[in-house]
C-alpha cells in the first residue's frame, strides 16, 4: 500500500519520463472524480442508499468556489461578503454549503426508500441544475470562468499542474482515510447494519433516520470538496457539472469499481475516465477509425459485460475475492 502511495506521489515525474506531462492533469481529474465517487460510495456502499443526484452536491461546491472567485475578481460583494480567492476559505466554505444543501434535501429524501429514493434524489438534482442554468448573473448555461486563475493556498502554487495534482491526491488520501476510520467507528457499524437489515436495527432500539441523514450530509460535504477541487482544476464551472448524466457517471464509477469496497470507487474512476479519454485514441492507433469516432459503440457493451460477468466490479477482478467494506473490520 505504501509503495502504491509513493508511486502516486511520484507520478508527475513518471509522466515526464514518459514525456506525457498532460497525464498529470488527467490524473488530477481522476483523483477528483474518485473523491466524488468515494463520497457516493458512503451512501451506496455503506448505508445502501442509492442516490441518483450526487453530482448536485459536487456542482454546489464547485459553484461556491467559482462564485467567490468571481466576486473577488469583480470586486463586488456576495450577500454582503466580499469574494475571495483564498483556498483555505473558499474550499471549506464549499464543503459547508454542500453539506447544508445535503442536509435540507436529505431530510426530505430519506422519507422514501428504494427506487423512490433514487428518483427523488434525481428530482432535487434536476431542480438545482435548472436553478444554476437560470442564474444569469453567474453565466447561466455558459458557466463561470475563474478569471484570476486557481485558488491561492499559502505555500502552494496551484497554477502549477503538479501541485494541483498533489493537492487532489492528498485530498483523496485524507478522505479515504477518514471514511475508513468512519466505517470502523460505532457510527460506521450502524450504517453497515442499516444496509444489511433495517428492521432488525429498529428492533434493537436504533432509529435509522438520524444516522442516514448524517451520512447523507457527510457525503454531500465531501462531494462539495471534490466540486471545489474540480473548479480549481478546470478554472471554470458550469451547470454541466450538475447534469444528471454526471450523477450517472459517478454511480457507474462506483459500480464499475465495486460497491462498498475501498479501492472500488478509485479503480472505477480510473478506468471509466481513462476509457472515456483514451478509447478513441487507442482505436485511432490501431486503425479502427470507425470506432475511434464511435467509441461508445464499444464502451456501452463493455459496461453491460461488466455488469453481467464481473460481479463485484473491478475490485473483485483485481483482488480476486470479494471483500466488502465490512471485511475491513471483520478481520
Amino acid at each position: 500500500m505504501l509503495g502504491v502511495g509513493f508511486l502516486l506521489i511520484g507520478f508527475p515525474w513518471f509522466a515526464d519520463w514518459l514525456d506525457e506531462p498532460y497525464l498529470v492533469s488527467t490524473a488530477s481529474r481522476i483523483w477528483i472524480y474518485a473523491l466524488a465517487a468515494m463520497s457516493l460510495n458512503l451512501l451506496v456502499g455503506f448505508a445502501g442508499l442509492v442516490s441518483f443526484g450526487h453530482s448536485a452536491y459536487v456542482g454546489v461546491g464547485a459553484y461556491v468556489v467559482g462564485i467567490l472567485a468571481w466576486h473577488q475578481y469583480e470586486e463586488t460583494n456576495f450577500l454582503g461578503l466580499p469574494g475571495t480567492l483564498e483556498g483555505f476559505i473558499s474550499i471549506p466554505f464549499a464543503m459547508i454549503v454542500s453539506g447544508i444543501v445535503a442536509l435540507g434535501i436529505g431530510s426530505l429524501c430519506l422519507r422514501t426508500r428504494g427506487i423512490y429514493f433514487i428518483m427523488i434524489t434525481l428530482a432535487f438534482a434536476q431542480m438545482l441544475f435548472y436553478f444554476f442554468v437560470s442564474l444569469e448573473q453567474y453565466g447561466g448555461d455558459d458557466g463561470l470562468m475563474m478569471m484570476a486563475g486557481r485558488n491561492k493556498i499559502p505555500g502552494l502554487d496551484l497554477g502549477e499542474d503538479r501541485q494541483m495534482y498533489w493537492l487532489s491526491l492528498v485530498a483523496l488520501g485524507l478522505v479515504t482515510w477518514f471514511l475508513r476510520r468512519l466505517s470502523m467507528s460505532r457510527f460506521g457499524m450502524v450504517l453497515h447494519a442499516l444496509r444489511q437489515n433495517e428492521t432488525r436495527l429498529k428492533a434493537i432500539g436504533v432509529p435509522p433516520y438520524p444516522y442516514m441523514l448524517v451520512a447523507f450530509v457527510i457525503a454531500g460535504a465531501l462531494a462539495g470538496l471534490s466540486g471545489a477541487l474540480l473548479t480549481n482544476h478546470m478554472e471554470f464551472v458550469s451547470p454541466d457539472f450538475l447534469h444528471w448524466t454526471r450523477s450517472g457517471d459517478l454511480l457507474i464509477m462506483v459500480i464499475l469499481g465495486g460497491i462498498g469496497t475501498w479501492t472500488g470507487p478509485i479503480l472505477g474512476a480510473i478506468v471509466f475516465l481513462l476509457l472515456e479519454e483514451f478509447l478513441p485514441l487507442l482505436f485511432q492507433e490501431i486503425g479502427l477509425y470507425l470506432f475511434s469516432e464511435h467509441w461508445r459503440l464499444v464502451f456501452g457493451p463493455l459496461l453491460i459485460c461488466i455488469v453481467l460477468f464481473a460481479k463485484g466490479g473491478l475490485h473483485a477482478l483485481v483482488f480476486k475475492q470479494m471483500k466488502g467494506v465490512h471485511g475491513a473490520f471483520a478481520n
Binding site: 470502523m184 467507528s185 432500539g205 435509522p208 444516522y211 465490512h326
Partner: protein, 252 residues
C-alpha cells in the same frame, strides 16, 4: 400489578380480525407460553407488542406505561424485546459484532465517528459473555451468514438478551432446529426463567409444556384460556380448538 397488561386489543386486516378483543396478563418473572393453531394471530400479537403494527383499538400497559405511545425503535429501550420468527441477524457481521452492535445501541446514540469500534474491549468482552450464555462463544468471529441455522437462532437469542429485556418476546425460537439444538434452547430458557419475564410462542408442545409457568391458548385472535400447563391439558375447549390442527398434547 402485571408487567404486561393487554386489554380488549383489536386489529383487523380488511375482513379478517387477526386480533379480536384480546386480553392477556403477564406477571413479572413468569415464563408465559402462547399456543394456538396456525393463523390464530400469534405473530400479529408479537408485531403489535413490538410496534411494527398499530392496533385499531385496545390498550397495552407495559411496566406501568402506555406502550402504544412509543415507537418501534424506542420500545426496546423500555425493556420490551422481541426475537424474530424468521431468523433476523446482520449477516455480514461476525457473531461478536452482532452482539457488540446491540450493546453499543444500549449505551445511547452511536454518533462516534473516530474511535475504532472493534477496539472497545469492554464492549467486546461483555458481548462474549452473552455469546457464551447461548453457547456460541466458540463461533464469535464467524460471519453470521456462515453460521448454521440453529446457531443463528442462538445468536438471535444472545442479541435479544444483550438488550437486557424486562420482557422477552420469543417468536418460535426453536423453529427449524434439530432436536439437540432445541434441547439447548430449552435448557437456556430454564436458566433464564425467573431472571427475565418471557412470552414464548412455540409449536413444539413438549418444549412448551416442560418450561412454561402458565399457558394461554389463542384461537381466532382471542384468548380462550389461560392457566397452568396441566390445567390446559385437561381443558376440552382447547382440544377442540386443536382438533385436526395439531395432535392433542399428551403427558410428557
Amino acid at each position: 400489578m402485571a408487567l404486561l397488561q393487554i386489554e380488549h386489543l383489536h386489529k383487523r386486516f380488511g375482513a379478517l380480525a387477526a386480533t379480536d378483543n384480546l386480553s392477556l396478563q403477564i406477571h413479572r418473572g413468569e415464563l408465559h407460553a402462547l399456543i394456538g393453531p396456525n393463523g390464530a394471530g400469534k405473530t400479529t400479537l408479537i408485531s403489535l407488542l413490538s410496534g411494527s403494527l398499530q392496533p385499531d383499538s385496545g390498550l397495552i400497559q407495559f411496566d406501568g406505561r402506555n406502550l402504544l405511545q412509543f415507537s418501534e425503535a424506542t420500545r426496546p429501550r423500555l425493556g420490551l424485546v422481541r426475537s424474530f420468527q424468521i431468523t433476523s441477524v446482520f449477516p455480514e457481521f461476525s457473531a461478536l459484532e452482532n452482539v457488540t452492535l446491540v450493546l453499543q445501541s444500549q449505551q445511547g446514540h452511536s454518533f462516534r465517528f473516530w474511535q475504532v469500534a472493534r477496539n472497545e474491549f469492554e464492549l467486546r468482552s461483555k458481548a462474549k459473555e452473552y455469546l457464551k450464555q447461548v453457547g456460541l462463544d466458540q463461533k464469535s468471529e464467524i460471519p453470521a451468514y456462515a453460521l448454521a441455522h440453529g446457531q443463528q437462532r442462538q445468536l438471535e437469542l444472545a442479541m435479544a438478551l444483550a438488550l437486557k429485556p424486562k420482557l422477552l418476546l420469543l417468536d418460535e425460537p426453536m423453529a427449524g432446529m434439530g432436536p439437540e439444538e432445541s434441547l439447548k434452547v430449552v435448557e437456556l430458557l430454564q436458566q433464564l426463567k425467573g431472571k427475565i419475564t418471557m412470552l414464548l410462542i412455540e409449536h413444539d408442545m413438549d418444549a412448551v409444556f416442560s418450561v412454561a409457568d402458565r399457558v394461554s391458548v389463542l384461537v381466532y385472535g382471542h384468548v380462550i384460556a389461560t392457566s397452568t400447563p396441566s390445567e390446559i391439558r385437561k381443558n376440552t375447549e382447547v382440544c377442540s380448538a386443536y382438533l385436526g390442527e395439531h395432535e392433542i398434547p399428551v403427558a410428557n
